[in-house]
């Protein structure tokens, strides 16, 4: 425990925790809507596109974050639009862009002399590489996402529950879907520093599927999802520091463990069936 307190004397650890919590909040908020829209795998597909753009940015010697964001956002909108036109199924389109991303990233890495330390840190996350710019960027993005989710909360809720009804209610569903796609791209881009391109989709999926086990209202489930996400990232990062493990993989394994424990507890105690007064 003492060792963990010592961690906070290192500025890189403080940066890692701040970015981790910011990313956890953004990913859980956006992830909640993606999971309910049955679009959770879009995060997986886009993270593979992020891998290709990071490889390209490193090859060109430019800043990966700023390079990645517009490309991933474009890919997110592309998946959405192709799915809307129903010319290719959403899951197939995600599969296509994911494999293309990996293939392109690998080719670029090989042209650049193989998987170097820089690229490897983007693949699986590395808290040592987080800069002050990353900290401010992730805090700003996280606040921006929370504000947008707050402002569009009711519209997003109707959109994921019943898109047809959302249209009938006068909600601009196409614009809202684009907003959701862009926010997903932003979350993935800032999240890859801590958790890596290969594992970022877990931050989108795990918190919501874990909080859904409690069988509460939408509002409570969304809040629980944020709390579960912060808990997973903080404990995952702590364990990764204490045992010198890769941060991304440790957070994902910890998230998986939390999901299994919650799933079993809820079923064994029938906690999910109890109706608690929610005001």
């Amino acid at each position: 425990m003492e060792e963990l307190f010592t961690a906070f004397s290192y500025s890189f650890m403080i940066r890692a925790f701040v970015v981790g919590i910011a990313v956890a909040l953004s990913a859980s908020m956006i992830g909640s809507f993606l999971v309910l829209k049955k679009y959770s795998m879009i995060g997986h597909g886009l993270s593979h596109v992020a891998f290709a753009t990071v490889a390209l940015a490193l090859t060109l010697g430019s800043a990966p974050t700023l390079f990645t964001l517009p490309v991933v956002a474009f890919a997110a909108i592309l998946v959405l639009k192709v799915n809307e036109k129903a010319s290719v199924h959403g899951d197939s389109m995600i599969g296509l862009i994911a494999t293309m991303g990996i293939a392109l990233g690998t080719v670029l890495a090989s042209l650049n002399g193989g998987f170097n330390v820089d690229l490897y840190s983007y693949l699986f996350g590395s808290i040592l590489t987080i800069t002050r710019v990353d900290v401010w960027l992730s805090i700003s993005v996280s606040i921006g996402i929370l504000v947008l989710v707050g402002l569009f909360y009711q519209d997003l809720f109707v959109l994921v529950y019943d898109e047809e009804y959302a249209k009938i209610s006068g909600i601009k569903t196409e614009r809202l879907n684009v907003l959701l796609a862009i926010l997903t791209a932003v979350t993935i881009t800032i999240g890859i520093r801590v958790i890596g391109t290969m594992l970022i989709s877990s931050l989108i999926i795990f918190p919501m599927v874990t909080s859904m086990q409690f069988k509460r209202s939408f509002k409570v489930t969304l809040a629980l999802s944020g709390l579960v996400s912060i808990f997973n990232v903080v404990f995952g990062l702590s364990v990764s520091y204490l045992y010198n493990l890769p941060s991304g993989s440790t957070i994902v394994l910890f998230s998986g463990l939390v999901f299994i424990v919650v799933y079993l507890i809820v079923r064994l105690t029938s906690m999910g069936g109890v109706q608690i007064e929610e005001r």
Binding site: Q154, Y161, D162, S169, S211, M212, V220, Q275, E277
Partner: protein
């Protein structure tokens, strides 16, 4: 004589799915206080017509004009919109019915929640308020959706085959509730149905679809005008013969 107020004016409306014309050049008016039955075979364009009127699907040609500030309530055909694990209570789903009238950012007030509580009480489903929507039966979900459609005090209530999942007794009660809304609050009711025999006693106007509009007018004239139609023989014979018996009995 009271002047008729037109709630909905549909003018030469056409809807396409790819190259297929699902609704072709349909023109009609629905007036305030009408109780309309929209009938037709499967695939005749009834649901497409209603969805186009509601703005859920794109119009290929023509126009739909609503009377200024008309509030619409809609009960879809398939009420099971979410899977069992979807985390939303019936209360949250019913509150969706109020969003159309709200300005950005849409905030649900305490008053809105009280309105839903009162409505659930009136519909006899208070026990469902805090239950999760996905865990309810089809019939229960339908009543929650009816609450969602009614919570905004709609001027026009559009229902897509609402009685298909109900047993005869509940169906009767349901139609009586609609009739009461129609008579007491002058709510315009538009009901898509297969079962003209059951709703015949309630409606005053028929819209008969077969891609294009085959008939629009009073129910009283429908059986006479469309007596040649195979649809009457297959689906509406009992409704029409019932009407004929009623007419014979009149002094």
């Amino acid at each position: 004589m009271m002047k008729k107020i037109t709630n909905i004016k549909v003018d030469q409306l056409s809807v396409r799915y790819g190259k297929h014309l699902a609704v072709k050049d349909v023109t009609f008016e629905i007036n305030k206080g009408d109780f309309v039955g929209v009938i037709g075979e499967n695939g005749s364009g009834k649901t497409t017509l209603i969805k186009a009127i509601l703005g859920a699907i794109d119009i290929y040609k023509g126009s739909v004009i609503f009377e200024h500030n008309t509030r619409i309530g809609y009960l879809p055909q398939n009420v099971m919109r979410a899977d069992k694990i979807f985390p939303a209570t019936s209360m949250e789903v019913a509150l969706m019915g109020l969003l159309e009238r709200k300005n950005f950012p849409k905030i649900i007030s305490k008053k809105d929640k009280e309105k839903v509580v009162t409505l659930f009480k009136q519909l006899g489903i208070s026990s469902l308020l805090k239950k999760r929507i996905g865990e309810l039966s089809g019939g229960q979900q339908q009543r929650v959706m009816l609450a969602r459609a009614l919570v905004s005090d709609p001027d026009v209530l559009i229902l897509d085959e609402p009685t298909s999942a109900l047993d005869t007794v509940i169906e009767q009660t349901f139609l009586d509730t609609l009739k009461r809304l129609n008579e007491e609050r002058h709510t315009t009711i538009v009901l898509i149905t297969h079962d003209l025999a059951t709703v015949g006693a309630y409606i005053n106007k028929v819209i008969y679809m077969n891609q294009s509009l085959e008939y629009v007018g009073p129910f009283d004239d429908f059986c006479k005008t469309m007596s040649h139609s195979p649809y009457i023989h297959l689906h509406s014979k009992s409704a029409c013969s019932h009407q004929a018996i009623e007419e014979e009995g009149r002094p």
